[in-house]
C-alpha cells in the first residue's frame, strides 16, 4: 500500500478538513439513525391516539434532529469539498514540481501526452475516489452498524433477514471485479487510442487534406469510435445487471420482513412487534441495504481509480537522474570546454554507443562548428556540455572543472543552448525573451534582438515587443521563431553559446549577419554551432566533423578541405555549381 501512503502525503494543510468531514458525517449518521427511531415512537403515538402534546413533543424533537443533521451534513459537505479539491491541488502541485526537477532522460521516459493525462484525468479520478472515501467510508459502515443495532432492539429475528441480501452482494462484487473491471481497463486504453487519432488528425490536417484522405480518416476514426462504443456498450450491459440485482435484494428482504413481521405481530398479538416497529424495521432495512450497496460501489470505484493512483505515483517516485553534487562549484571561470575520452548512450541497453571515445578541447572565446550527417549524434554531443545528460564514461569539463561538480543552475546559466526543437510560449515577445533574463531592461532585450537579427521584424509587428505569441509560437514563421530563440539565449549573457541547427530556417544572408554580430559583439563567448550549411561554419576557428558518434575530423575549414573526405564531400555538394561566390 505504498501507493496510498505516497498519495496521503499530499493531504498536508487539508488534514483538518479531511478529519472534520467524516467526523461531522459520523454525527450526521448518529442523528439520521435516531430519526426513524423517534419517528416510530411518533407513529405509535398517532396509532395509540395519544394526546396532541405528546405528538408535539416527538415532533419537536424530530425537527430539532433534522436541523442538527442539516448542519452537520452541510458542514461535512463543505469540508469534504475543500479537502478533496485541496488534495487534488496538492497532487497537481507535487506532480508539476516533480516534473520540473526531471532531467532530460527522465522526460524522455514519459511522453508529453502521458504526463498531461497524469496531471489532469488521473488526478481527477483520484480526487473523486478521495471524496467518495471521505464521504462514505465512514458513513456506510456506521450506518450499517447502527441500523443493525436499532433493528435488533426492535426485533432480533427480523435482523437475521438482512443476511439474505449478502449473497446477492457477493455475486455482484465478484461479477464486477471479474468481468466489468478488466473490460473498463481495456476501454480506457481504447479511449486513449481514439483521442490520439483525433489529436494526430488535427495536427496533421494539412497532410490529410493534401492527400485527400478525409474519407480514409473518417473510416479510421469510425473504427476506433465503434471499438470504444462496442466495448463500452458491452460493459454497460453487464453493469445493467447491477441495478436489478440491487432491487432484487431489496425486494426479497422487504417481502420477507413483511411476511415474518406480520406473522410475528399477529401471533404475538402486538407484543413482540408493533405495526410502528415493523415500519421502522423497513426503514432501517432500506438503510442497511443501501449502505451495503454503497460499500460495494466504493470498493469497485477504488479498484478502478487504483490504476490512476499508480500512474501518479510513478511520476512522483521517479528520481531525477541528474542531482546537484555536494558542495557544488558556484562559479564558471571561463568558456573553455574539454571532452576527455567521453562515451555516451541514451539507454544502457543500446547496442551501439551514441558517442564513443570523444576527446577534444575548445578554448574560451573560440567559435566551433559541428558538421555531420543526419543521425551522427551532433545534438547528443552538445547536450553533454550543459549536463542535460550525464556521460557514461570519461568526463566533460567547462572552465576546467568537471560539469558534474557544478551547481546545475549555475552551469546552465553559463552554457546557453538553443535547442533544435525550440519552443516559444504563449505570452508577449518581451515575456518570451525574458526567459533568458527576467530582469532584462528594454534596451537589453532590444540589443539581443538586434544581434539575432530579430529586431527588424519584431518592430514591424503590430504591437512590436508587446505582440502576443500564440501557444507553440504558431503566429511567427519558422525563421522568425529561430531568431527569437537565439535572442532569448543571448539575453542570458552566457559564457558558452550553443546553436543546435538553430538557423536552418533562416536565409543565408541573415545567417551570416547573425554570425557577424556574434563575432563583433560577443567575442569572449565560446560559440558552438551545429549546422547543415558549410557557409554557417566555414569561418569558425575549428570545425568538428562527426560521423556515427565518433570524431572524424577536427580542424579549420582549409585543413579539413585538404584532409577530411566527408567534409570535402559535404562542401562539394553545396558548391558544385562552381559559381557560388563567397
Amino acid at each position: 500500500m505504498n501507493v496510498i501512503k505516497t498519495l496521503m502525503k499530499c493531504i498536508r494543510e487539508y488534514k483538518l478538513q479531511t478529519i472534520l468531514s467524516p467526523l461531522f458525517i459520523a454525527l450526521e449518521v448518529l442523528i439520521e439513525v435516531m430519526i426513524p427511531f423517534v419517528t416510530a415512537q411518533l407513529i405509535d403515538c398517532i396509532e395509540a391516539q395519544s394526546e396532541i402534546s405528546v405528538i408535539a413533543k416527538y415532533g419537536g424533537v424530530l425537527v430539532l434532529l433534522a436541523v442538527l443533521s442539516l448542519t452537520c451534513g452541510a458542514l461535512s459537505g463543505h469540508f469534504c469539498a475543500v479537502a478533496s479539491s485541496g488534495f487534488a491541488k496538492n497532487l497537481r502541485h507535487d506532480l508539476f514540481y516533480k516534473v520540473q526537477s526531471y532531467s532530460f532522460s527522465n522526460i524522455d521516459k514519459f511522453s508529453t501526452s502521458s504526463l498531461v493525462t497524469r496531471l489532469t484525468t488521473d488526478v481527477t479520478n483520484v480526487q473523486n475516489s478521495f471524496m467518495m472515501i471521505i464521504r462514505t467510508a465512514i458513513r456506510s459502515p456506521m450506518m450499517l452498524a447502527f441500523s443493525v443495532i436499532m433493528t435488533m432492539r426492535i426485533s432480533k429475528k427480523l435482523t437475521l433477514i438482512f443476511l439474505t441480501a449478502v449473497p446477492f452482494l457477493i455475486i455482484g462484487v465478484t461479477f464486477m471485479l471479474k468481468k466489468v473491471l478488466p473490460l473498463f481497463r481495456s476501454i480506457f486504453k481504447k479511449y486513449d487510442a481514439l483521442n490520439n487519432s483525433v489529436q494526430e488528425n488535427i495536427s496533421g490536417i494539412r497532410a490529410v487534406k493534401s492527400f485527400v484522405r478525409e474519407d480514409y480518416e473518417k473510416q479510421k476514426f469510425a473504427k476506433a469510435s465503434d471499438d470504444v462504443c462496442d466495448n463500452f456498450t458491452k460493459a454497460e450491459k453487464l453493469m445493467a445487471l447491477a441495478s436489478p440485482l440491487v432491487q432484487m435484494a431489496i425486494y426479497v428482504v422487504m417481502l420477507l420482513i413483511c411476511y415474518i413481521g406480520a406473522k410475528l405481530i399477529i401471533t404475538s398479538n402486538n407484543t413482540e412487534l408493533t405495526v410502528g416497529g415493523l415500519s421502522s424495521v423497513m426503514t432501517y432495512g432500506m438503510q442497511v441495504l443501501m449502505s451495503l450497496m454503497m460499500f460495494t460501489m466504493i470498493f469497485v470505484m477504488i479498484t478502478m481509480s487504483m490504476a490512476s493512483a499508480n500512474r501518479i505515483v510513478e511520476v512522483l517516485n521517479e528520481e531525477s537522474s541528474i542531482q546537484n553534487p555536494e558542495n557544488p562549484v558556484m562559479q564558471v571561470k571561463d568558456g573553455s570546454v574539454k571532452f576527455d575520452n567521453v562515451s555516451f548512450s541514451y539507454s544502457s541497453k543500446a547496442e551501439r554507443k551514441t558517442l564513443e571515445n570523444i576527446s577534444l578541447e575548445i578554448k574560451s572565446g573560440e567559435t566551433v562548428g559541428i558538421i555531420g550527417a543526419t543521425g551522427s549524434s551532433k545534438t547528443s554531443l552538445i547536450q553533454l556540455i550543459s549536463r542535460l545528460y550525464d556521460v557514461n564514461e570519461g568526463s566533460v569539463s567547462v572552465g576546467g572543472i568537471d560539469v558534474r561538480k557544478y551547481d546545475v543552475k549555475i552551469l546552465r546559466d553559463a552554457v546557453s543552448v538553443v535547442l533544435q526543437k525550440n519552443i516559444l510560449f504563449s505570452g508577449t515577445v518581451s515575456e518570451n525573451l525574458c526567459w533568458g533574463n527576467k530582469d532584462a531592461t528594454d534596451e537589453e532585450i532590444r540589443r539581443a534582438c538586434v544581434l539575432a537579427q530579430a529586431d527588424e521584424f519584431v518592430s514591424a509587428m503590430p504591437d512590436g515587443y508587446n505582440t502576443m505569441i500564440e501557444r507553440g509560437g504558431t503566429n511567427v514563421s519558422g525563421g522568425q521563431k529561430q531568431r527569437l530563440c537565439i535572442a532569448r539565449a543571448l539575453l542570458k549573457k552566457p559564457k558558452i553559446l550553443i546553436l543546435d541547427d538553430s538557423t536552418s530556417a533562416v536565409d543565408t544572408k541573415t545567417d551570416a549577419l547573425i554570425r557577424k554580430a556574434f563575432r563583433d559583439e560577443i567575442p569572449d563567448t565560446t560559440k558552438i554551432i551545429i549546422a547543415q550549411r558549410i557557409s554557417s561554419v566555414q569561418d569558425a576557428d575549428k570545425i568538428i566533423v562527426l560521423d556515427n558518434g565518433t570524431i572524424n575530423g577536427f580542424g579549420t575549414h582549409d585543413e579539413l578541405i585538404q584532409t577530411n573526405e566527408i567534409y570535402r564531400e559535404v562542401f562539394e555538394t553545396q558548391t558544385k555549381a562552381g559559381d557560388f561566390d563567397d
Binding site: F96, T120, N195, T374, L419, A505, Q532, T573
Partner: protein, 642 residues
C-alpha cells in the same frame, strides 16, 4: 474574418455562462430521431419499474390494514392467507419491475453509447470537411476537448440524468395522484414544502452549477498550461526557468482549487438540505395527520372518500418521504444537466461551422489515348485527364500535364492585409520552379493557394488551362503532392505511413518509394524494419528521418505536380543529393515547386522566383540571377555588403 492563429475566445468571459435555449431540445431531437423505438420501450420500462417501486407504499398501506384485520381474527384463521396472497401479488409486481429495470438499463446502454458514437462520428466527419482556415484559427487543444470533456458531459446526461429524470417525474406524478386520492389537505401541505425545496435548488443548486461551469473553464486553462509546459519542458530546463513555471502553475492551480471547492461545496450541501427538508416535512405531515385523527369533526377531503384514519395517515407519511426523495434526486442532476448543456452547445458550435465549399465540377479520370483522342477508362493507365463537362451537355477531356499558371494573384489571410500582391508565374510541365525569399515573404502562401487551402482574393490560377475553382478540390489535391517542413506522421507502422500516399500501393511500391527517398537504409536498420511502429508523430526518429519518410509517402502517391515546402531542411546535404537524384528521376516530365533556403536544393531549378513582401522581385534561373547580382545574389552568397 480573423488573422490565422488568432485565438477566438471559447466562451464569453466574466458573466455567468448560461446555456442557450433550445440546446436541450436539439439534443433530445437528435436522440429521438435515432432511437425512437428503443427510447419508447425504455420509457415503458421506466413506467413499469416506477410502478413497482411506488406500489411499495400502497403495499405498506394494505399490509397494515391486513395486519390490523389479522389481529382481530388470528394468524391461522385466514390472516395468513390474506397476507401471503398480498405478498404473492407484490412478488409478481416486483419481478415485473426487476425485468423492466433490467431491460431499461440494457437499452439505455445501447442508446447512450450509440448516441455518443454517432455524435463523435458526426463531429469528426464535420471536422474533416472544415477548411484549413478553421484549424489555423482555432487552438488545437480546444478542438480536442470536444472529443473528451464535452462528449463526456453528454454521456452523463443521456445515460444518467435523462432516465432518472423521466423516472422521477413519473414517480412524482403517480405519488401526487395517490396523495390526492388519500387526502387533499395533506397534499397541499406537501406542495408548500415543494415550493421551499424549489427555492433551495434554485439558489444553492444555481450557485453550484455556476461554479461547476467556472471549474470546467479553470480545468481547461490548467490543462492548456500543463500541456504547453510539458511539451516545452526541455526548453524550461535549459533556461533554468523551473521556478517561474512553478509560480505560474501555482497561481492557475489555486484558481482551479478555489472554483472546484466552491462548486463541490454547494453540490455537497444541497443533499443534506434537501434531505432534511424532507425530514421536517415528514414530521410535519405526521404531526398534522395525528392532530387530524385526534380532532373530531374534521372531515377528510379526498378522491377516495376514505375517512382520516391510520390507513390514510401512515401510507401518506411514507409517500411524503418518497416524494421528497425524488425531488432530491432531480436536484442532484441539476449540475449534470447544466454542464451537459454547456458541452452540447460547444459541440453544436462545431457542427454548425461552415464546411469547406466545393463548387468544382471538373474531375480527374484515368484515360487512354485512342487514335489521338483521349478516352476515359476505368483501369489505371498512368495517364490522367481532366473531365470537363460543359453547359451544353458535351464533355471534353484535357490531358493532365501539370501546367500551372498564376495570373495577377492577390491574397491576404484577412481582407485588410494582403500577403501577396499581383503575383504572376508560369510553370510549364516538367519544370522545376523554386521560391526563395526571406521568411514571411509569402512563399508558403503561394502553395496554400495552388491546392486551394485558401482561395485567392483576386486573379486566377489555371491548371492545364482550367481555372482551379472549377476543379473539384479532391481531384485537384489528388493531382498535387505536397511535402511540408512540419512532418506529420501517423501512429502505425512505417509501411502504413508510406502507404498513406496511395492506399492501394503494394509493399513493393512502398519500398521502392522509400528507396527513392533514400529512407530504405535507415528503415531497414530500425528494430523491426518496415513493421516498426511509429508513435506520437514518429518521436523515435530524428527530424531528418521523418522528412525522408514524408518524401517517400509523397513519392508513392506519384503525383504529376509536386510541392516541396522546406521538405529537406533537416536532411544533411550529402543525403539530400541522393534524395534529389531519386526525386529528379521520379519527377522527370513533371512540375515541381520547391521552397528552400538551401542553395543546393534550388540551384538546379528551371525558374527561381525571388519573393519579397509578397511580390516577385526577381525571376530567372540560377546563373541569370547570380549574374544580375540582385537580391538573390545577396541572399545566397551572404555577400550583402555590396
Amino acid at each position: 474574418m480573423t488573422k490565422p492563429n488568432k485565438k477566438q475566445p471559447p466562451m464569453p468571459h466574466g458573466k455567468r455562462p448560461k446555456p442557450k435555449k433550445g440546446t436541450l431540445k436539439r439534443i433530445l431531437k437528435m436522440l429521438f430521431a435515432e432511437y425512437k423505438v428503443m427510447l419508447i420501450i425504455a420509457i415503458i420500462c421506466v413506467l413499469f419499474s416506477t410502478l413497482a417501486s411506488t406500489s411499495a407504499s400502497l403495499f405498506l398501506n394494505q399490509i397494515v390494514a391486513r395486519i390490523e384485520e389479522g389481529l382481530k381474527i388470528g394468524w391461522n384463521n385466514g390472516a395468513s392467507q390474506s397476507i401471503v396472497s398480498l405478498i404473492a401479488i407484490m412478488c409478481g409486481i416486483y419481478v415485473l419491475g426487476i425485468i423492466a429495470s433490467f431491460t431499461q438499463a440494457r437499452i439505455m446502454a445501447v442508446v447512450t453509447q450509440g448516441f455518443l458514437n454517432s455524435t463523435r462520428k458526426k463531429m469528426f466527419s464535420k471536422m474533416q470537411n472544415l477548411p484549413i482556415k478553421y484549424f489555423d484559427t482555432h487552438p488545437h487543444g480546444d478542438t480536442m476537448s470536444y472529443y473528451t470533456n464535452d462528449i463526456d458531459t453528454l454521456r452523463q446526461l443521456v445515460s444518467q440524468a435523462v432516465p432518472s429524470l423521466i423516472m422521477s417525474a413519473l414517480t412524482i406524478t403517480v405519488l401526487v395522484a395517490y396523495m390526492f386520492y388519500l387526502s387533499i389537505w395533506m397534499t397541499l401541505v406537501v406542495f408548500g414544502a415543494v415550493v421551499i425545496m424549489m427555492f433551495v435548488v434554485k439558489h444553492v443548486g444555481g450557485n453550484s452549477s455556476k461554479y461547476f461551469l467556472r471549474q470546467q473553464k479553470a480545468i481547461g486553462e490548467t490543462e492548456g498550461f500543463i500541456e504547453e509546459m510539458m511539451s516545452g519542458q526541455k526548453v524550461v530546463q535549459v533556461f533554468n526557468h523551473e521556478e517561474e513555471c512553478c509560480k505560474d502553475f501555482d497561481e492557475i492551480n489555486n484558481r482551479l482549487f478555489s472554483e472546484a471547492s466552491k462548486a463541490h461545496s454547494f453540490a455537497n450541501i444541497l443533499m443534506p438540505i434537501m434531505g432534511n427538508i424532507g425530514n421536517i416535512l415528514y414530521v410535519f405531515i405526521a404531526f398534522i395527520g395525528g392532530v387530524l385523527i385526534l380532532t373530531p369533526g374534521v372531515t377528510n377531503v379526498s378522491l377516495s372518500g376514505q375517512a382520516l384514519g391510520l390507513a390514510v395517515v401512515i401510507p401518506f407519511i411514507n409517500m411524503t418521504r418518497q416524494f421528497t426523495n425524488n425531488i432530491t434526486q432531480i436536484s442532484q442532476h441539476f449540475n449534470h444537466i447544466i454542464m451537459a448543456l454547456a458541452g452540447a452547445e460547444r459541440i453544436f458550435e462545431l457542427m454548425d461551422e461552415e464546411p469547406e465549399v466545393d463548387e468544382g465540377y471538373v474531375t480527374l479520370v484515368n484515360a487512354r489515348e485512342v487514335n489521338g483522342e483521349i478516352v476515359e477508362c476505368k483501369e489505371r493507365t498512368g495517364m490522367w485527364a481532366w473531365k470537363h463537362p460543359h453547359e451544353d451537355g458535351t464533355t471534353t477531356y484535357t490531358k493532365l500535364m501539370g501546367d500551372v499558371r498564376m495570373e495577377n494573384m492577390d491574397f491576404g489571410y484577412t481582407p485588410e492585409k494582403l500577403v501577396l500582391h499581383d503575383v504572376t508565374l508560369y510553370a510549364e510541365p516538367g519544370q522545376k520552379v523554386a521560391f526563395v525569399g526571406a521568411t514571411g515573404a509569402g512563399k508558403t502562401t503561394v502553395t496554400n493557394l495552388i491546392n486551394r487551402f485558401y482561395d485567392v482574393a483576386d486573379g486566377k490560377i489555371r491548371y492545364d488551362g482550367i481555372n482551379i475553382n472549377k476543379i473539384k478540390k479532391d481531384d485537384l489535391r489528388h493531382s498535387l503532392g505536397i511535402v511540408l517542413q512540419e512532418t506529420n506522421l501517423f501512429t502505425g507502422t512505417v509501411m502504413e505511413n508510406i502507404r498513406y500516399g496511395k492506399l492501394d500501393a503494394t509493399d513493393e511500391e512502398c519500398i521502392a518509394a522509400a528507396k527513392l527517398a533514400n529512407a530504405h537504409d535507415f528503415i531497414t536498420r530500425l528494430p523491426e524494419g518496415y513493421d516498426t511502429m511509429l508513435t506520437s508523430n514518429g518521436s523515435n526518429l530524428s527530424q531528418g528521418q521523418r522528412q525522408l519518410l514524408s518524401i517517400a509517402r509523397c513519392a508513392v502517391a506519384d503525383p504529376p505536380v509536386m510541392i516541396l515546402d522546406e521538405a529537406t531542411s533537416s536532411i544533411d546535404t550529402r543525403t539530400e543529393v541522393i534524395v534529389s537524384k531519386g526525386m529528379d528521376a521520379l519527377m522527370k516530365g513533371r512540375t515541381v515547386f520547391v521552397i528552400a533556403h538551401r542553395l543546393s536544393t534550388i540551384q538546379n531549378s528551371d525558374v527561381i522566383m525571388v519573393l519579397e513582401n509578397g511580390r516577385i522581385i526577381e525571376r530567372g534561373n540560377h546563373d541569370k540571377l547570380i549574374e544580375e547580382q540582385g537580391k538573390y545574389y545577396q541572399l545566397y552568397t551572404g555577400n550583402f555588403a555590396k
